[in-house]
């Protein structure tokens, strides 16, 4: 390929070692792939590599990245991590404060973490235990979110009662709280029980005391028992006394899980105000034609009705008319602006108004 085109000579100064390395590499590759034109001559190899290098460097990369990437062979746990922006995640985690998590979905991951932490370790050897807890803390409490972190293990007379005390001063309120949840989740799955949790939000200070249970020393999977212990540990983070002093949406989120709750408006203007917001948003998205179905979704969300069929716009009231006359009046007054209501026994259907 090279020979068929016009070429120029170029002489460069390179170290004898590099010159030798190039020559040996090209010779070896040529022997392995005699038909590959890249390795036909030293010049062909140079041309090929220099062209690649130019393209690579022009895409704003560094050649060091080539070899750095190959060195970064992550282990299984590392491969599940990523660099997250601190200020973003601090904001993003805010709403999770009192929420439980669906950790059952993560059981395979927890099994993997447990294996990685205890494999090859003697659980009755104190220095091995220290190593397990240290790795567990390093995995769940990153340095960047901490102002101060200290922990120590205490032996007791009974070999199987090991106490872990952990004190943490957080640099970020939400990251601290959620990462401590993560620590308690992993420790719970290992078979370590959280027995005391002190938290001062003002100082971002926490003190946690954990004690190993028999489950920690058991080689059995005991999946259900481990999940129960995780749940017990996480319950410490769902402190209702703190919830009552916190931001209203946390409490309202919690209340949606109860069956009998619904929302009331102190007057119809308040309700109309929210419906206007829905209308404005639909207008912004150019979806005004969806207003009627959105109204039904809204009333379902505040637990006044249950939609039977979204397409047919059919629904049932879940509130009792005799106890909620006001809600029935509000509902009808609002809906009638957009549609007609047709009743067939308990089932209601909305009929879009025609312009005639």
């Amino acid at each position: 390929m090279l020979e068929s085109k016009r070429t120029e000579k170029q002489t460069v100064s390179i170290s004898p070692a590099l010159k030798d390395w190039i020559e040996r590499f090209v010779q070896k590759k040529h022997n392995e792939n005699p038909d590959n034109e890249k390795y036909r001559s030293i010049s062909a190899f140079y041309n090929y590599i220099l062209q690649c290098a130019l393209n690579f460097l022009k895409s704003s990369k560094n050649l060091e990245d080539l070899n750095k990437q190959r060195k970064e062979s992550k282990d299984d746990l590392e491969s599940l991590t990523f660099r997250a922006i601190l200020s973003l995640h601090e904001e993003w985690l805010k709403m999770n404060r009192y929420r439980g998590i669906n950790f059952r979905r993560n059981v395979p991951l927890l099994i993997m973490i447990r294996k990685s932490l205890i494999n090859g370790k003697d659980l009755y050897n104190f220095s091995d235990l220290e190593e397990i807890f240290e790795r567990c803390i390093n995995l769940t409490i990153p340095e960047e979110i901490s102002k101060n972190l200290s922990y120590h293990l205490t032996k007791s007379r009974k070999l199987e009662d090991i106490k872990l005390t952990c004190e943490h001063v957080g640099a970020y309120k939400n990251l601290q709280y959620e990462n401590l949840k993560f620590l308690s989740l992993v420790l719970g799955f290992l078979g370590v029980e959280l027995t005391d949790f002190f938290y001062s939000e003002k100082d971002s200070f926490t003190q946690l005391t954990y004690i190993t249970t028999q489950l920690f020393f058991s080689k059995k999977t005991s999946r259900n028992r481990r999940i129960q212990l995780v749940q017990k540990n996480l319950d410490f983070f769902k402190d209702y006394s703190r919830l009552l002093n916190d931001f209203d949406p946390y409490f309202w989120m919690e209340m949606t899980s109860y069956d009998d709750v619904y929302l009331r408006f102190i007057n119809i203007k308040v309700l109309n105000n929210w419906l206007n917001k829905i209308e404005q948003d639909l207008r912004f998205l150019e979806k005004e034609e969806d207003m009627i179905s959105k109204l039904l979704e809204f009333f379902e969300k505040i637990h006044w009705i249950k939609i039977n069929d979204k397409k047919d716009l059919t629904f049932k009231f879940v509130l009792e008319q005799k106890h909620n006359k006001e809600e029935f009046t509000f509902f009808k007054d609002t809906i009638l602006k957009y549609a007609q209501i047709v009743q067939d026994e308990e089932i209601f259907r909305l009929k879009k108004r025609t312009n005639s």
Binding site: F56, D65, F182, S241, M253, R264
Partner: protein, 356 residues
């Protein structure tokens, strides 16, 4: 494997190769340009140094089994020093769960300092009128963010012909985790706003792991000034394409409730008011014999305050106002009076009530 050897300062050898004149010229221009940009970088001091650098790095890469066809998939690390300052190592599957409640929160808008810093970093030495630079800029971002662990696809297609001032494009991103993908879509919409780019349309796939945005530059994009207020306004509009009552109504109940919780004219009621007793008992605010629980009365008042039934005036005096109107809400008021009377005496002075 052949050992890697370095160029000696004293001993060098000459190597003459045949090279295409176009490639030779391109290398010369590239090295001259780089030498001006980085006068202290020894790599670009001479053509020989550049060849030595390139051949050393590529030989090392090839010897370790590297494939030059993978070359453009390697990660760009030039943005690492910036992001490393602001980031920490997060565990993706667990934080995926933790991020769920944040879905319809708009807190990204508050990060103007961070967003403007990122904007300054990206647009440094960047000519917004140069489409080739524009493409190179996104190539650089793609190369930084795309990785095996989290981001599956990061793509930006420019749909504008050359010389046009307003650039239109389609930005696509796939992330292996649904909630992380959603949060990133929100962040990107806000960041586009701070860049001066308007988002015209957003699509998020049903499985939630792919987002697509149709965007176009505004005059702000070409304006080097900070103009924080204007950029924030654009960011708000962009975010509204993702967070709006239309999407909230299609999701789980608690997302709407967190929004309604901010309106004091809406309150939580119960189809069966006796459920309140069950909830208060579940939360542990009922028994005065519970030694750990101090100030049960205040906690009960706070519970009703969170329902938006009352407003506490003075926590020490246990004084409060009832904020739900009497007419039409008699059943709640009757329940409140009966419930509080069980453990205390209620005294009314004007609109104020006191618990004794």
């Amino acid at each position: 494997m052949s050992p890697k050897r370095y160029l000696s300062n004293k001993k060098t050898k000459k190597q003459t190769i045949s090279i295409y004149p176009e490639l030779k010229k391109e290398i010369l221009e590239f090295c001259q340009q780089k030498a001006i940009e980085n006068p202290n970088d020894p790599v670009y001091k001479s053509i020989s140094s550049f060849y030595t650098y390139v051949m050393n790095e590529f030989l090392a890469y090839l010897e370790k089994g590297g494939d030059l066809t993978d070359l453009y998939n390697s990660r760009d690390s030039s943005l690492d020093p910036f992001y490393d300052k602001f980031s920490y190592k997060s565990f993706a599957p667990i934080f995926e769960e933790f991020l769920k409640p944040n879905r319809y929160e708009t807190s990204d808008l508050n990060l103007s300092y961070f967003l403007l810093s990122v904007r300054n970093l990206y647009l440094k030495n960047f000519d917004p009128y140069n489409l080739t630079q524009f493409k190179g800029f996104f190539q650089k971002l793609k190369s930084h963010f795309e990785n095996k662990e989290l981001v599956r696809n990061f793509k930006f297609d420019i749909k504008t012909e050359k010389q046009k001032r307003n650039v239109k494009g389609v930005f696509e991103m796939s992330i292996y985790y649904k909630n992380i993908c959603f949060e990133n879509a929100k962040y990107n919409a806000v960041f586009f706003g701070y860049l001066g780019v308007k988002v015209n349309k957003v699509e998020i796939s049903k499985d939630g792991i792919y987002s697509r945005m149709e965007v176009e530059t505004t005059d702000l994009f070409f304006n080097p000034k900070s103009l924080r207020a204007e950029r924030r306004l654009l960011a708000e509009g962009n975010l509204k394409r993702i967070i709006n009552l239309n999407s909230i109504l299609e999701d789980e109940d608690f997302y709407l409730w967190t929004k309604l919780a901010m309106d004091k004219d809406i309150y939580i009621s119960f189809k069966n008011l006796d459920e309140i007793i069950e909830i208060i008992t579940d939360m542990g605010f009922i028994s005065q014999s519970n030694g750990i629980l101090d100030n049960v009365l205040l906690k009960q008042l706070k519970f009703f305050e969170k329902l938006h039934w009352i407003k506490i005036n003075n926590e020490e005096d246990h004084s409060f106002n009832i904020i739900i109107p009497e007419k039409g809400h008699e059943k709640e008021l009757k329940f409140l009076q009966e419930f509080l009377s069980k453990s205390s005496k209620i005294t009314q002075v004007g609109d104020n009530y006191y618990l004794e």
